[in-house]
């Protein structure tokens, strides 16, 4: 055995290849420079006979073997010149992210300044902080610009979404929904069917963008996943409410037309304006109305829980649009353009479906008596005014001036979403 310097020594003890010795060997060789030598001592002749082929398979070289009389077998291995992983070395161990009372929040995984403004479209599925090995197949992500998708509080919103999960099978007092009179069940079911129909669109829109987001923005992936999951539960709960009373409602073609145009929007920010700010924003008022006027506790609970989720979605939309416009004021015109294009496609829509306004009126009245119906109709008119007023406020919060806010609100679909 010849070596420029004396080799490091590793006592294999009773360990064998395939039985843990390979772990010790890899750890020892990992820390050695190319060409350095490791002498492995083993009492097992079998292991000594196998070590050279193990070394070659791992790219190293067995450069000497000997057996001292009565002593252990020794195999000298020269470390491979090849990198085991084709990547930069791992950074030195740091402190790791901070904890808040023992909780590890997504927002604390990296400071906002470290969220890259642009990432390579070909980036791989590399978890935050990980060092990517070269040679992986290239992806072609479409959303690779932070400012095109980001909201400053996206991590906190994701956190809230995780904490606010609920169960549409068990958290709703379903028994309470049984036994409404026919006229009332029919009205409630029509409203529930309408909401469920709209929740489908609220699911498909973020789902359509989810798979385009570059994996370098995991906070966005978590956020959109939570959004999709929320909407799936909304579809679930409002479908269940429409069925529990035994009286299905209509899925209206006019609603479908409106939602179809919403799904046509393929720009992330355009969709955030149309869905999160305008559509879900308007639905906040609708859900509050349903919660207030629900004739049964199940309908009330479904509307309240969905409302809680929609608040997050609307918050994201406002936060994103505000950031988007602040980063590039020219985007304001593009966003207004998206709303105008959608409105142009909806010219054949005359207004909110009479079946829905009638349903809401009966729900609010709780009876078919003229006096109560009149009160119900007044409540629905008030709802429409509230919707418009709040829509304009949200648009203002998103960064539009009063004139643009009024214009955008006027362009909004009569279908509410």
């Amino acid at each position: 055995m010849t070596g420029k310097t004396s080799p490091r020594r590793l006592e294999a003890g009773e360990l064998e290849l395939g039985g843990g010795l390979e772990v010790l060997l890899a750890a020892a060789l990992e820390g050695m420079p190319a060409g350095a030598r490791l002498e492995v001592l083993t009492p097992s002749r079998s292991t000594a006979l196998e070590l050279p082929s193990w070394a070659r398979a791992a790219g190293h070289e067995a450069v000497g073997e000997r057996t001292a009389s009565g002593g252990p077998h020794a195999v000298e291995i020269e470390r491979s010149p090849f990198a085991r992983v084709l990547a930069e070395p791992l950074p030195a161990r740091g402190r790791g992210p901070r904890l808040r009372d023992g909780e590890l929040h997504t927002a604390d995984l990296r400071p906002p300044a470290e969220v890259p403004a642009h990432v390579a479209a070909v980036a791989g599925l590399t978890p935050l902080g990980a060092v990517a090995e070269r040679g992986a197949p290239a992806f072609r992500w479409k959303l690779n610009e932070r400012d095109a998708i980001w909201a400053d509080d996206v991590s906190e919103l994701t956190e809230q979404a995780s904490a606010a999960q609920w169960d549409a099978s068990r958290d709703i007092p379903w028994e309470a929904a049984r036994g409404l009179p026919d006229f009332l069940e029919r009205a409630v079911s029509q409203v529930m069917t309408f909401i469920a129909q709209n929740e489908y669109a609220a699911l498909y829109v973020p789902a359509g963008f989810l798979a385009d987001v570059n994996p370098a923005y995991p906070e966005m992936l978590m956020w959109l996943s939570s959004h999709v999951h929320d909407e799936a539960r909304h579809v679930e709960v409002f479908t269940k409410r429409s069925l529990i009373g035994g009286q299905p409602g209509y899925a209206l073609a006019a609603t479908e037309l409106s939602l179809h145009t919403l799904l046509d929007e393929r720009d992330f920010s355009g969709a955030a304006l149309l869905l999160n700010v305008l559509g879900e924003g308007t639905f906040l008022d609708l859900l509050r109305f349903v919660e207030h006027h629900a004739p049964d506790a199940a309908t009330r609970a479904a509307a309240a829980l969905a409302h809680r989720d929609e608040v997050r979605h609307v918050h994201f939309g406002i936060s994103h649009i505000r950031r988007h416009i602040a980063a590039d004021p020219d985007q304001k015109a593009a966003l207004i353009g998206a709303a105008e294009r959608r409105a142009a496609k909806l010219t054949e829509m005359s207004g909110l479906s009479p079946l829905l306004t009638e349903g809401l009126t009966v729900m609010a009245a709780g009876s078919l008596q003229p006096a109560e119906l009149a009160r119900g109709a007044t409540d629905v008119r008030t709802l429409m005014r509230t919707m418009e007023g709040n829509r304009i406020k949200r648009l203002g919060a998103a960064g539009f001036d009063a004139r643009d806010s009024q214009h955008l609100s006027d362009l909004h679909t009569p279908n509410l979403m």
Partner: protein, 269 residues
Amino acid sequence: MSRAGAEVRVGAVAYHPRIVTIWEAFLEHFDREGVPTDYILYSNYDRLVEAVLAGDVEVGWNTNTAFVALERRLGGEARILGMRDIDSQFATLIVTRRGAAFGEVGELAGRRLALGSRDSGHAAILPLHYLAEQGLDAASECELVRFDTDLGKHGDTGDSELRVIRAVAEDSADAGALGEPTMAAFRADRVPAVADLEVAWRSPTYYHCNFSALPSLDDALARRWAEALMTMSYDDERMRQAMDLEGVKRWLPGDRAGYESLATAMDKT
């Protein structure tokens, strides 16, 4: 890009679908090195040797058995253009059940010895040869348990060696021969049958595969192609996967020194 005008056609045996993956990556490497190359696959080494002799391919990616067969047919020396690092230090192991290892090969007399495909240099021909050199005529003194699977592929598939180690593990053989790299791969893959086996014997080293060509291949072309092969780097991320599949970390020029034992062994058969 059409490969119709490739300067070098390499013949290889399609013992596994991954051969296509390997060669598609290798062709890109040869393109980058300016020696446009194509590959043609054969189902067995007899056909590949015929193809080299007939000039259907300029280069054959031959096992040691195929290389010796090629030279026999030539009646002279073929040209060696390169080999893998592992081809230059190949050995055969004989394994037994744990605790049943033998000290001298003579102790195998009267025992059951499992061998891989009879056309495999490393799993059948050479173990018999080296045991004979060390004084054991296994063909007459042992009960041979042969697994002649995938004949024509010279043991490339590893199937017969898997049967060998299972036979030993299940006590339907007392000892079994297989190639060193196959054993290393079984260990790495945690193949259950090897867990209770130990290595009792290792043969002297010999050469395994090589890229071989007829002596008439143009010198300059042969040199350019071999140089292009040698530049292939395991640290090149475009090549690592294909090189892992081919079991090579580094290509070596190769020579004839390590084929004598097999030629001698095949002369006797």
